[in-house]
Structures are given as C-alpha cells and as structure tokens.
Amino acid sequence: MATDPYETLGVSRTATQDEIRTAFRKIAKKNHPDLNPGDSAAEDRFKAANAANEILSDADRRAKFDRGEIDAAGQERQAQRPDRQYYRDFAQGSGGARYGAGAGLDPEDLGDIFGEYFSSREPGGSRPRKGADRRYRLEVPFLSAINGATERLTLPTGETVDVRIPAGIEDGQALRLRGKGDPGRNGGPDGDALIEVGVVPHGSFRRVGRNVELDLPVTLAEAVLGGKVPVPTPRGEVNLMIPAGSEAGARLRLRGRGVAESGGTAAGDMFVTLLLVAGPRDGALETALREWQERHADFDPREAVRRSV
C-alpha cells in the first residue's frame, strides 16, 4: 500500500492544506468502514487515505516526504494505529443490540417465520413473547466480591438498579436481574439484564477458591521471638499470634477470615505467609549475629536443597 499519498488523495503536489483536507474528507465520507460495513475495499481505501492524510496534513511531514526523507510506507506504519477496532465489529456482534434501532424482528419472530415456512403449523404473530436479555458489565472492588455488597448502577436506559453482589462471586460470573431487559411483547414477560461481574484485583490480598492469601512482612525479632502482630483482613484488623522461631515463608491460618459465608456456604479462611524484613541496620544486632554464626558454624540451611539437586 506504499502508493504516493498525493495520488491516494487525488490532489496535485502543489495542493493547499485546504484542498488536501477537502480531498481527505471526501474519501473518508465515502469509505469510512463504519459507513460501509461488509465492504473491505472501502476499508482499504479509508486506511490508505488516512495514512496519506497523516503525511500531507502535517506541513513538516509533507516537506519530509517531498524531500524523499520518508516514504509512504514507512510513514504509514507509524501513523496507522493497528489496534483500531471499528464500531461495526461490535455492532455486528450480539452486543450490538445495545444500540439497536429497536424496530426490528426479534429472533423468536424469525423462528416463527421459518417455522411457518418449513412446517406451516405455528400460528405465530401475536403470541406473547419474552423480551430480549440485555448484557452489561460491572467492575466491583476485590473486597466487595469477598464480603458481598450492593452496587448502584444506572443502566443506559436511565433506570437505576441496586445490584446485590453475593459474597464469593467469581470474576466473569453473571448476575441476572429479572425483568430489566427489553420489554416483552403481546403481554409476554420482560427480558432480563445479565450483568457480568469483573473483580478488580487487590493490591495485597489474593483469592484462591474461598480462601484469601496475604504476604505479611514481619521483623526478624517478631519471627525469632514470636508475638502478636496486627493483620489486615477483608473484614477489619485482627491480631495474629506469630509462634517464636517462625521461618520466613511460614503459612499461618486465620479461620473464617476468607470469603464471607453466604447462602449456607461457610466462610473461607485467610492464609498469611510471613515475609522476613531485616529492618534498619543495627550494629549491636550485627555483633550478636556474628556470635550466633560462630556458635552455629555447622548449621546449613541449604542442606536439604543441595541433596535434592
């Protein structure tokens, strides 16, 4: 597609900025992919015109091109954003019904037409029919998914709904709001709103099934001497007893502090993995550790690892 941008836009080499703008607009109006769904030749022409316009509408780049410093292809690669997705790509999919014109046939009507055509038995037409479902997506904070929550949501129709997020909802799970979809026809029930829930990851907590995991930094003193340390959980802070002589990486359990209980399912647990923090440097501590090293010169913490290799 490395054709001459002047040729692409159909303008002379001496064209003014106005002439270039007008020429580009003319091609864009005719060939915009969203105005020509299903016509890939139009899309190619639109892309070529866009690339040509990127060069010629910018006095600097145009001068560079004229001097032969950049070519149409090299420039085009820079100018084109390859990830652009056109509206038609969505409008043709099932999600496109969100911006539907509203006056069309629904799938059940089509089914009726074909039902009649192929079997000529279905009476069809004025039969009560359920309205179509509408799909939405809702992002909820991590803690709402763990503890349960109610999120207020305004649908594109302007209607405000309270969506109850059950504790333990998984990323990608859908909630059904009965009767919040398209209106039913001929006395049929309204369709439903299907709300796909996306769970936003948390900075510190991770979820594994019904359990919540947390990496908890502790000081050398807390690990060696043991003691109570405050730990944030999805439902407030609690004190966790660190046993004396705990190793880095030790996993401690806080019962019932994971996903909240809901619908008869017991609450999950929280697992705390200890991370050892050396803390500020301390001469006295270093002296003590040097003595410790001398006393335990034969202790090898890597013995097991070495044997396994």
Partner: protein, 92 residues
C-alpha cells in the same frame, strides 16, 4: 472498566467537553457507576466513530440522523445474519 480519562487517551484529539456532550445527547450510552460514566469496548468504538464523523464535519444537527441510520443499518445486518444462519440450520 474504561473511564472517561481512558477514552480520552485512546482517542487523540478528543476533549472531555465534547465527550460529555455526546453522552448528554445519548449518542453514546455508557453505564454509570457512582455517577461517573463507565464504557465498554463497544462504547469506545462508537465514540471513535462519532469522532470520525465529527471530523468529517457531520454537525451537531445531522449527527443523530446519521447515527440513527447507522443503527438501523446494523440492526438489519444483524437480522440478515440471523436469517442466513437459520437458512443454514433451520432447526437451530
């Protein structure tokens, strides 16, 4: 979740004032969460489309006409695809 700021970042040249105007006109209809618009990919693509139409000097007055015709075109194309699918598999 696509926020107003993310839409502005993905559509260079678009300013917040115009985007808010398009939402107020209901040319693009994002959901709202906590009072703020949240967009899906289809909404973003529609914003990009309206932006292109705007650059083609489709004015404020003509925009709803163009969008309505486009929506009808897509509606009909969706239906045509369904009809074709049913012709291939009449029993579904």
């Amino acid at each position: 979740m696509i926020t107003v700021a993310m839409v502005l970042a993905r559509v260079p040249g678009l300013d917040e004032h115009r985007l808010r105007l398009w939402i107020a006109e209901e040319w693009v209809r994002p959901m709202r969460q906590g009072g703020e618009p949240v967009f899906e990919e289809i909404d973003l693509a529609r914003v990009q489309l309206i932006f292109d139409l705007d650059r083609m000097e489709v004015g404020l007055a003509a925009m709803p006409v163009v969008l309505s015709l486009l929506d009808q075109l897509h509606e009909h194309r969706r239906q045509m695809h369904r009809v074709l699918a049913m012709l291939e598999h009449p029993a579904r």
